[in-house]
């Protein structure tokens, strides 16, 4: 049971990465491009979470029921994942701001139609 779930997690990470990358390459709209980038980003969430996953162990919240010192799922990768979310939210916000600017200047957000986007 355990290896199946773990491998499924890694497979999902790879799949999300490739699908997101395909979306970035093929996107015909800058908002679509930003969303594809978040899909690529989601692959790192899945990967980080699955690396810290320990089969059958509870979440690392040491309140009632879970004694300090007992085994739990690795909290460090979850902290890494949250940091990742914060960092990438900044980049996506910047990209969306640029998208609005491009749309205002060129009247379209299709990278192939915007004259300056060629090349």
């Amino acid at each position: 049971m355990q290896p199946v779930l773990t491998y499924a997690g890694y497979a999902a990470a790879v799949w999300l990465f490739l699908v997101g990358l395909y979306g970035v390459v093929k996107s015909r709209h800058l908002v679509n491009l930003c969303l594809s980038l978040t899909v690529v980003q989601a692959s790192t969430y899945v990967l980080l979470t699955i690396i810290g996953y320990r089969p059958g162990l509870p979440a690392p919240i040491y309140t009632d029921g879970l004694k300090p010192g007992s085994a739990a799922v690795d909290p460090i990768v979850q902290a890494l994942m949250l940091t990742d979310v914060v960092v990438e939210a900044t980049v996506i916000a910047l990209l969306l701001a640029i998208t609005i600017k491009v749309h205002r200047d060129a009247g379209t957000a299709d990278p192939n139609q915007v004259d300056i986007m060629r090349g």
Binding site: L30, T44, V77, V91, L95, V102, D105
Partner: protein, 286 residues
């Protein structure tokens, strides 16, 4: 008073202060504050360079130090060696020069410009001083975010938007690849500390293929940042459109810091003491 974290703390604080009260300040006051801050960082990093010449300075944030050198490190540290500190002082010097240049280069400029340049400086200092793998990824991304905003600063010119967009998308995908590598290394070694990863990799009997794949993933984001062939396509677009003072930083130090990060990761984590991890890389003729 510890000197080590100041090159990161000082510019970040100055940037925050400028953003908050910048609206009410005259432009020349903001210019002066920015110049003074970067000059202070030059002095600080120079001092760190000379101090670290007698041995690597290790600073643990929040004093989360390992109990003894042989204990497993949990905290996040700065590991300051002369090369890193010297690169940080070069970065600070270039930011100082860029600020002096933009004194008369920009006809009008807002507090945002100064704040972004200072955040960029903090990220460059942190990237060259940190001793933590995940920290390297975070500062790489902070550099990208500040760099993109600076690259598209003249947003009335549509080419600069294109350059910034290219820069952001390609560098972000590269950073994700790096994060994947960091995650793989953490999964295999249980640590994010560069030196600890190096110790574990040298001792653990991991498969050659795994270490190679983890290395390639980890460095790919930095290869994109340093615009090494064949990851260089964003560079022409971004460098051509960035305002001149920003271009000083892009060409002068940002690209080189990518290469420096690769060297740091390779020599500390993958080849501690100049020796490649047991024979692994020999066949790739490193």
């Amino acid at each position: 008073m510890q000197l080590a974290p100041l090159p990161i703390v000082v510019p970040l604080t100055a940037a925050a202060v400028l953003i908050i009260i910048g609206k009410h300040l005259h432009r020349r006051i903001m210019d002066s504050v920015a110049i003074a801050t970067s000059a202070a960082v030059v002095v600080l990093t120079m001092a760190l360079t000379f101090k670290s010449a007698s041995g690597v300075i290790v600073y643990w944030f929040g004093n989360w130090r390992p109990l003894s050198p042989s204990h497993f490190p949990i905290g996040i540290c700065l590991a300051i060696d002369p090369i890193g500190a010297a690169l940080a002082s070069l970065a600070a010097l270039l930011v100082l020069v860029a600020f002096i240049f933009s004194w008369s280069y920009f006809k009008s400029v807002g507090a945002l410009y100064h704040a972004l340049m200072l955040v960029f400086l903090a990220a460059m200092c942190a990237l060259s001083l940190t001793g933590d793998l995940f920290d390297m990824f975070v500062w790489l991304e902070v550099m990208t975010a500040a760099g993109v905003a600076l690259c598209g600063y003249k947003s009335e010119q549509s080419q600069s938007l294109q350059g910034a967009l290219n820069f952001a998308v390609i560098n972000t995908i590269g950073a994700f690849l790096s994060l994947t590598g960091v995650a793989l290394l953490y999964g295999a070694t249980g640590s994010l500390n560069l030196a600890q990863v190096g110790r574990t990799l040298a001792a653990a009997h991991l498969s050659e293929q795994f270490v190679t794949v983890a290395f390639l993933f980890t460095v790919s984001g930095f290869l994109v940042k340093s615009a090494t062939f064949p990851f260089h396509f964003w560079l022409a677009d971004a460098h051509a459109v960035a305002p001149t003072p920003v271009c000083i930083l892009f060409s002068g130090i940002m690209v080189e810091l990518g290469l420096y990060a690769i060297a740091r990761i390779y020599w500390i984590a993958f080849a501690p003491g100049g020796q490649p991890c047991p024979k692994r890389f020999d066949r790739y003729s490193w």
